[in-house]
């Protein structure tokens, strides 16, 4: 293999991408803008500290309990309470267009029932098509629940009982994984998933342009007729993709960090608790191992798809399937039992995101290391396949 020719191919490919603003936008700007939105601001936007939830209250009760609960609603940060005489006839429309997020009706006799040791019921009206409405409901339910706990404690005290009397079983969680594993945030690996998906998406557009795109334009024919060998062409193109994958990695990290800073600034400790999808430093060692393997693997897979496909449309179909597998592999870990999701680690590309979660539980265990080894073997296999496809005559159309 001629190194000089390989470097010139890489240089030319990189130069073309740098001059293609759309590709750069996809690789850098999209992660910078999307990551804070997807990972942090969506959570932030739904939290009561930022989102002002509007609660309509119809209080047909004249007793103290309903009044106290309404008072608690009013004192809750970010809640606007509107007192109404009756439930409006167009309540469905008002809930749909977020005039109110939730409407609550305290019926007559609500307080007297409770003070007499009986049970009362609050009617909550929500529009199930609105996520905001459902989140607001959970916020208000928590408030009522906390008030209920106080009531229960008072009732128990009146008969000389402790709250433990009706809550006899305690519950504690002990992590049997790696020591300190509990320090990792529960959805921390989603940060790794975003890194993987961002870099893959950025390289996908560029890589298909460099493979099937060249085939479509006819420039590949001239390149294949030059003294550059198939191996030099594959390696040159592959190397040219890596910096843009890395760039996308960096942009995603900055985007996630930026989202985290905004959340913490606005919400302090509450915000930190909400940062479920974040860059967790606990993942750093495995990410350093995974990142280079993933980048080469993804680049080889993209080139393989691009050189195999006859047209850009065909390549887009293949990439859709690969992206589905990549997403399913990661999201599957939410739903599948651990003994099944372990196998996802052996899926090329997708396994890279899932593997990081197992690292958090097990450290560099034999399983994690063997998975890394298998993923390295995939790199070799994908490169060999891409080279084989490059040798096929289908790269050149069969017109006579």
């Amino acid at each position: 293999m001629n190194l000089s020719r390989t470097i010139w191919i890489m240089r030319k490919e990189a130069l073309e991408v740098i001059r293609d603003r759309r590709a750069l936008l996809g690789a850098v700007l999209l992660p910078l803008v999307l990551m804070p939105l997807v990972s942090q601001l969506s959570i932030l936007g739904m939290s009561p500290a930022i989102a002002k939830y509007k609660l309509a209250v119809v209080n047909d009760d004249d007793g103290p309990v309903a009044a106290s609960i309404v008072q608690m609603f009013m004192m809750t940060n970010g809640t606007e309470v509107v007192i109404l005489d009756t439930v409006p006839a167009d309540i469905q429309q008002k809930l749909m267009d977020s005039t109110y997020d939730v409407a609550m009706v305290f019926p007559a006799g609500f307080s007297s029932n409770i003070t007499n040791g009986l049970r009362s019921q609050v009617d909550a009206l929500v529009y199930p098509g609105s996520t905001r409405s459902l989140i607001a409901l959970s916020v208000f339910q928590q408030i009522i629940s906390s008030y209920e706990n106080v009531l229960v404690a008072q009732r128990l005290a009146s008969v000389h009982l402790n709250p433990e009397f009706i809550n006899p079983i305690g519950f504690s969680v002990r992590n049997v994984g790696k020591e300190g594993a509990q320090e990792a945030s529960p959805l921390g690996f989603m940060g790794a998933f975003f890194l993987v998906i961002s870099a893959f998406s950025a390289m996908l557009g560029i890589g298909l342009e460099k493979s099937v795109g060249e085939k479509d334009k006819g420039t590949l024919e001239a390149l294949l007729a030059s003294p550059a060998s198939r191996r030099e062409i594959v390696v040159g193109k592959l190397l040219s993709l890596l910096p843009f994958g890395l760039l996308s990695f960096a942009a995603t990290i900055v985007g996630l960090a930026f989202g985290g800073v905004i959340t913490s600034t606005f919400m302090g400790q509450t915000g930190s608790n909400l940062q479920m999808i974040s860059l967790d430093p606990s993942y750093l060692p495995i990410m350093l191992v995974v990142a280079p393997i993933f980048l080469v693997q993804a680049a080889a897979l993209i080139l393989l798809m691009g050189f195999f496909a006859k047209t850009l449309k065909e390549a887009q179909t293949y990439s859709g399937i690969v992206t589905f597998v990549l997403s399913f592999g990661t999201i599957g870990t939410f739903f599948l039992p651990a003994y099944i999701s372990r196998w996802i680690c052996f899926i090329p590309v997708a396994g890279m995101a899932v593997l990081q979660n197992f690292y958090i539980s097990e450290g560099f265990s034999a399983f994690v290391l063997s998975t890394v080894l298998v993923q390295i073997l995939y790199v070799v296999l994908l490169l060999a396949l891409a080279l084989q496809v490059m040798k096929a005559e289908r790269l050149v159309s069969a017109s006579a």
């Binding site: 000089s4 020719r5 010139w8 191919i9 030319k12 130069l15 073309e16 001059r19 293609d20 334009k217 006819g218 420039t219 024919e221 001239a222 390149l223 294949l224 007729a225 030059s226 003294p227 550059a228 060998s229 005559e393 790269l395 050149v396 069969a398 017109s399 006579a400």
Partner: protein, 272 residues
């Protein structure tokens, strides 16, 4: 001149004898194909094609669409492998020594195949590097060729902003870049205006003669073939149906102009 003139009947049966002058006989052929066959599944695109191209001559590959011209060129440029038969360039077999073959050829494809986001000079420099050229030698060669094809003032412009004719001229400059002894030109003047096409033809003619290049020209333009080609090989349905100088073929078929010769041969082939 030693002229071997077959009858028209012989010609229609499957080829015409070579016309060679004595000086050519002294030169070994740069391009040789022997019984070349290429199948795409059940379709036989090239069927037993044999011809030679010697230094200093332009050999035209003529034929209707689907005759096998492009497939032959793709075999000679190592993009496709022959199903059977042999092809060599400067003695290098296209199957066994593809890299040496590719280094010996300057190719101008029917589609210009240039990189739109690179400038004119960057396109040439890129290919220069692939052909092992470097530094001042490459830079001065690029300048020289851009000047020859009349693109010096557009050297720093991106090719995506070039007209079709300008792209075609740049593609020809790329084909000439590494001064290859064999030139393969597929429709080099297609969609060029008359002055541009004429300047390209003159460039091909003078380069072939002065630098004794072996040039293969694929074209549908019979006037161009008549003007440029020292010999023509007429293909139909993958087979050679005639070979000779344009004048000989005119004389044999008793027609005027290569276009009439071509049409007569193709129509004869079409008859049962």
């Amino acid at each position: 001149m030693i002229v071997c003139l077959p009858t028209l009947e012989d010609t229609l049966k499957g080829g015409i004898g070579f016309v060679r002058n004595r000086s050519m006989q002294a030169d070994a052929p740069s391009v040789v194909t022997r019984n070349l066959v290429k199948d795409f599944g059940k379709l036989r695109a090239v069927n037993g094609l044999s011809f030679e191209v010697r230094p200093g001559e332009v050999v035209g590959l003529l034929g209707p669409n689907g005759a096998g011209k492009t497939t032959t060129i793709r075999i000679l440029s190592t993009l496709l492998q022959p199903t059977s038969g042999e092809a060599s360039v400067l003695g290098h077999d296209v199957v066994r020594e593809p890299e040496k073959v590719r280094s010996s050829e300057g190719i101008v494809f029917e589609n210009t195949n240039l990189y739109g986001k690179l400038t004119g000079s960057e396109n040439l420099e890129y290919y220069g590097h692939l052909y092992g050229m470097n530094g001042n030698v490459l830079r001065s060669r690029v300048q020289e060729l851009l000047s020859i094809v009349g693109l010096s003032d557009r050297a720093r412009d991106k090719v995506q902003d070039f007209s079709r004719g300008m792209k075609q001229r740049l593609a020809i400059a790329r084909g000439l870049l590494h001064d290859a002894p064999v030139l393969i030109l597929d429709e080099p003047t297609a969609s060029l205006d008359v002055p541009a096409a004429r300047s390209i033809r003159d460039l091909i003619k003078s380069t072939t003669a002065s630098e004794r290049k072996a040039t293969i020209l694929c074209t549908h333009n019979m006037l161009e073939a008549q003007y440029l080609c020292s010999r023509v090989v007429i293909l139909n349905r993958g087979m050679k149906v005639a070979e000779g100088t344009p004048e000989e073929l005119e004389r044999i078929s008793d027609t005027h102009g290569l276009e009439d010769v071509f049409l007569q041969l193709i129509r004869s082939e079409a008859q049962p």
